[in-house]
């Protein structure tokens, strides 16, 4: 990788009480790359994204965005950095006191001060790109299905055309066809907007489609990272077990037989 990485993490640690979730994460993401983070359920993938966004304060380590250290930023500096991010939350996290289109237009109106009418038009365009007709814009989030909420969350994350976008399980809960539409949309974000993305997914099909690079999180560390093309010859039994979805292997799930 040449030049300054868009995102660079080194020695990042976070524990909740005695539980060490992130235990020294080192990784960097080049501008325009699309990193997919894979790993078992509960290994700390969502915590990793939230820590980069400053929603969770790390115990140790450094986070650099375009070379700028963000762990020591004050509130205004944080806001300035966050304006460059977009995030799709795993649970969508739509504002239930607003309508769907107001959710999508939120960053445009509050963050960028765009006028309501213009923001609405933009919001409806974004909704259309995730396959939602404009009638849906007038509904409240409580009236949507799980997959529709996910797509509205996605539309909201990309509405402000951010430089860096995080997708936490963008295709979970969607049918295979809609999953493919969303995969294409994420690829388009990287291509057309020149965005740098970090996505979390359990769906290897989707990972192969959207990733330029893959990182596997296990035991609080990145145990393997490389270009997507190398994933089938990673040489890591952990990665092999994960991508083939086998219960037997070095990763032991805590279940009672």
């Amino acid at each position: 990788m040449d030049g300054v990485p868009k995102i660079q993490l080194s020695g990042l640690k976070k524990a909740f009480g005695p539980k060490r979730v992130l235990d020294g994460i080192d990784i960097s993401v080049a501008p325009g790359a699309s990193l997919v983070v894979i790993g078992g359920s509960g290994t700390g993938k969502s915590v990793l994204l939230k820590t980069i966004l400053g929603l969770i304060r790390p115990d140790a380590g450094s986070i650099r965005i375009d070379g700028e250290e963000t762990t020591s930023l004050d509130a205004t500096g944080r806001e300035r950095i966050n304006a460059r991010f977009g995030m799709l939350f795993q649970g969508a996290a739509l504002f239930d006191s607003l309508t769907v289109w107001e959710n999508v237009a939120f960053g445009l109106m509050q963050g960028q001060g765009m006028h309501r009418a213009e923001a609405k038009a933009r919001a409806l365009e974004n909704l259309a790109s995730v396959g939602l007709p404009k009638e849906v814009g007038e509904l409240s989030p409580a009236e949507l299905s799980g997959g529709m909420k996910k797509r509205v969350g996605l539309a909201r994350a990309i509405a402000t055309r951010p430089e860096i976008i995080f997708f936490d399980e963008p295709t979970t809960g969607l049918d295979p066809i809609m999953s493919d539409v969303i995969n294409n949309l994420i690829v388009a974000c990287v291509k057309d907007l020149g965005a740098t993305t970090v996505s979390i997914t359990h769906d290897m099909h989707s990972a192969r489609k959207i990733a330029t690079h893959v990182a596997m999180l296990h035991g609080g560390r990145i145990i393997w990272t490389g270009p997507i093309g190398d994933i089938d010859r990673s040489g890591s039994p952990y990665v092999d077990q994960f991508i083939h979805g086998r219960a037997e292997g070095p990763i032991q799930m805590q279940v009672r037989a």
Partner: protein, 258 residues
């Protein structure tokens, strides 16, 4: 288990909680004076806190005024001082019961709903989402509620004062057979501006406490539906206690100045 260590831990936990609340309050105040401001959100909260609380506050104030007249009459009749009923009703209402009754009612109605709403936003990551959309949750969620409560509580209390005095008047005139005009004269004769103003100042302070504690408990809630339930209860209990404690302190303050 060492009992002394347990007491120590509880005490330290209590102090830490107070510190967190103080920090939250300081943060809120500092965000009140820095842009961006959200006038439309403040207006919506004012409507909710002021207008929609009128029925509850009015009803409780009415019956409080009525029972005040009845009780003070029972007492004063024993030493032929019935003439003091009107004065007692109006002074108790404006100085004390108006602000406290309205405060407790609003704590139950508004403090609880603030804690539940903000708590739900916390546990469903909506507050995190606000941050990622470059919106400061203090400014967007907390400040409008606190400002609206500080502005609306005095108005509610003024209404409660009037309705409470009216309640006392109705009981005195129609049940205890007082003379209408002399009751009204006795009501205003001994009333001073300071009586009303001290009550309104109390109301504004209670408004701040209710909204701030409601937001604080919601904001720091965790642990799903159960956590939100706990935040709601805590907001009402802590606001009610604070209202009574601060009421005494403010009364002492006003008492000392005159």
């Amino acid at each position: 288990m060492n009992p002394l260590a347990t007491i120590g831990r509880v005490f330290i936990g209590f102090l830490a909680g107070l510190g967190r609340i103080a920090l939250f309050a300081a943060n809120t105040v500092s965000h009140c004076v820095r842009p961006p401001f959200y006038p439309s959100l403040i207006a919506r909260q004012m409507m909710d806190i002021g207008f929609f609380s009128l029925p509850v506050v009015g009803l409780t104030a009415l019956f409080t005024g009525m029972v005040l007249a009845l009780q003070s009459y029972t007492g004063f009749a024993r030493f032929q001082a019935e003439g003091a009923v009107a004065t007692v009703v109006v002074l108790s209402m404006t100085r004390e019961l108006g602000p406290v009754i309205a405060g407790l009612m609003v704590a139950g109605r508004i403090g609880a709903s603030m804690a539940a709403e903000i708590g739900t936003m916390r546990v469903t990551e909506q507050i995190d989402a606000l941050v990622t959309l470059s919106t400061n949750p203090y400014k967007y969620l907390v400040v409008p509620r606190v400002l609206a409560a500080v502005a609306m509580l005095p108005i509610l209390v003024l209404v409660a004062d009037v309705i409470g005095v009216l309640g006392g008047y109705l009981v005195a005139v129609y049940k205890l057979n007082f003379n209408m005009s002399s009751y009204l004269r006795q009501t205003v004769d001994f009333l001073e501006w300071m009586d009303v103003i001290s009550g309104l100042v109390k109301a504004a302070v209670f408004g701040f406490l209710i909204a701030m504690l409601g937001c604080f408990h919601g904001y720091s809630s965790g642990g799903g539906a159960q956590g939100v339930g706990r935040a709601t209860t805590n907001s009402v209990v802590s606001a009610s206690i604070m209202i009574l404690v601060v009421d005494y302190m403010l009364t002492e303050l006003f008492f000392a100045t005159r």
